[in-house]
Amino acid sequence: MTSLITALALVALLPVSSWGLEVVDQVGRTLTLPAPPQRIVSLVPSTTEVLYAIGAQDLLVGVTDFCDYPPEARRKPHVGDMLSPNLETLVTLKPDLVVATREGNRKETFDQLDRLGIPVYLVDPITVRDVLKLITDLGELTHHREGARAVTHDLERRIAAVRDRVAGRPRPRVLYVLWPEPLIVPGRGALVTELITLAGGDSVTADLGQGYPRLSLEAAVGHKPEVIILARHGSRGGATVREQWQRLESMPAVKSGRLYTADGDLMHRYGPRMVVGLETLARLIHPEAFGQSEAARRGAAR
């Protein structure tokens, strides 16, 4: 009997001891974790959103100043901004895992964390598929598989619903403005470019360059977009940027009233809210597919 209990205990212990070997982060690095992470610091706003969405928020002990969604996330201890997190604050939170990204954080930060013996899990989502995988992987990592599965199912269902709505409709030429000055647009491989395609539009800057290239205003106008979508960042500046474009009144998109602003966080963050971004884009690009009147459409866009 005793030996049986010992054997059962050993079996129960096995998965725990295998943690040290199993964890491979999103860029293919193998991490050695002594136990499943219990105290996570997220240096990536989208990861913070994912952890909340899958129900793993209690494991989150620190976030960046930019982690503003869901609103409760603001109440977690802050470790500074993404580029220069405060290492002392970070260490005092005693994290057993830090989640970071190569795009928004700096390599110096990872090196410093390495020297301090804090494991860093790197995420590197680029496409919609990557985001779904990220949610699944973070579910595995935090033992919230059910929550992750519920989120990915919901996302897949809503993405398919948008795709069905816009299928077979003419694809308008869309200019998405990520940042007005300097003018930055989504290029090849950007998440927004993919979302615009899924929403039934053709991004005029899709082949321009990798990621988020700079573009001159004149070149953007020269692409003759039929729909212009300006990203809004936070509460400031949206109206000003809109006015700037409104002045280009001889442009077809402006003349026909197809100049919109939309919440940029929904389009650029590799988190579960990207599906809200997709639905927003689809409604702006194909209002007719959603049975919206002209007035309602304009009201919603502001």
Binding site: E218, G222, R247, S250
Partner: protein, 339 residues
């Protein structure tokens, strides 16, 4: 040839150059608009809508106007500061005056000034206030009993410039860290199309600044003899210096408010004309106004075409041209003035 006729020839020639550069600038760009269509639109014969119209009349034309105004204003400001300090290296960005103006403009922006016409006046006023504060600080740091030693003046300018750029970073980090990238880009200096109402304000304020400097060109020539000499000849030296300082600060503050702190235009253009035309401010200042406009417009046209469809900041180009000129001046002239 009388001096008046000479001035007329010089101004006429430079105006012709400016018009030629402006025409060339209208014809090139990232969006392919046929030259014929450009000329039609300028002549008011083009279609009333369409992409070409937006590109030529709403993007290229206001940008050209802004570049010409900014270049002329900066060159006159540079000529003014050089006459004022009797230092060939004095220039708004090197003296830290642009930095002060930039701080003023950022303060105005974070306190909510936007794109309207009244806002434009406010931005220019804040830029002017920042420029005056920085100019006074540099003067107080650098002045000694013997006047304004050349190297001390430059060092004081650099320090004040660094101080104000650090202040801008702190201010933006506290108020709206998301905007930091945009502000750093703006600090490089780049010309963008300016709405018509703002363009009017820009033109009027620039005219006032140019008048303050140009109106005293003859007295500035006398100031070059030294303050005592100028006073003996009936010049109110202190009043003159105040007026020139206000004019140059106003020009700098306005340019910074509308296109950002573009460096070295105030150095290159007056220096080039001083070598070509001599030191007479009555010729130098109007030549700097027209030549500065043509120079910055040419630089901005390059900036928006060389890496098309992307764009360079014009401040990067002017610094490329300006740094060698500055080094050359530092090695030759200043070495002779002050061993």
């Amino acid at each position: 040839m009388t001096s008046r006729a000479r001035l007329a020839w010089i101004c006429g020639g430079l105006a012709a150059v400016l018009i030629a550069v402006a025409l060339g600038s209208l014809l090139v760009g990232a969006a392919p608009v046929p030259p014929r269509a450009v000329l039609d639109l300028i002549a008011g014969r083009g279609p009333s809508g369409g992409t070409d119209r937006a590109v030529v009349l709403s993007i290229r034309l206001p940008r050209i106007a802004a570049a010409v105004l900014a270049g002329g204003a900066l060159a006159v400001a540079g000529a003014g500061f050089q006459a004022l300090t009797r230092n060939p290296l004095a220039e708004p960005s090197i003296l830290g005056v642009s930095g002060g103006a930039a701080f003023g403009v950022v303060v105005a922006q974070v306190s909510g000034l936007g794109q309207g016409v009244v806002d434009a006046l406010g931005l220019a006023a804040f830029g002017f206030a920042g420029a005056v504060a920085a100019g006074l600080a540099v003067y107080l740091i650098a002045s000694s009993g013997a006047g304004l030693p050349v190297h001390t003046l430059l060092l004081a300018g650099v320090i004040v410039g660094i101080f104000f750029s650090a202040s801008i970073t702190v201010l933006i980090s506290i108020v709206d860290a998301n905007r930091l990238g945009g502000v750093i880009y703006w600090l490089l200096g780049s010309v963008a199309p300016i709405p018509p109402g703002q363009l009017v304000i820009f033109t009027l304020v620039t005219a006032v600044g140019v008048w303050l400097v140009l109106g005293q060109a003859r007295a500035l020539n006398l100031l070059a003899l030294g303050e005592e000499g100028a006073t003996e000849l009936g010049v109110d030296a202190l009043g003159l210096k105040r007026r020139i300082f206000m004019g140059a600060a106003l020009l700098t503050g306005t340019v910074v408010a509308f296109v950002g702190p573009i460096g070295f235009v105030g150095l290159i253009v007056p220096q080039a004309f001083r070598m070509l035309l001599g030191p007479d401010n009555r010729v130098l200042v109007p030549a700097a106004l027209l030549g500065g406009g043509a120079f910055l417009l040419a630089a901005d046209t390059l900036a928006r075409t060389v890496v098309a469809p992307a764009e360079l900041s014009v401040g990067v180009l002017t610094s490329f041209c300006g740094a060698p000129v500055f080094i050359w001046l530092l090695r030759s002239r200043v070495a002779r003035v002050e061993p």
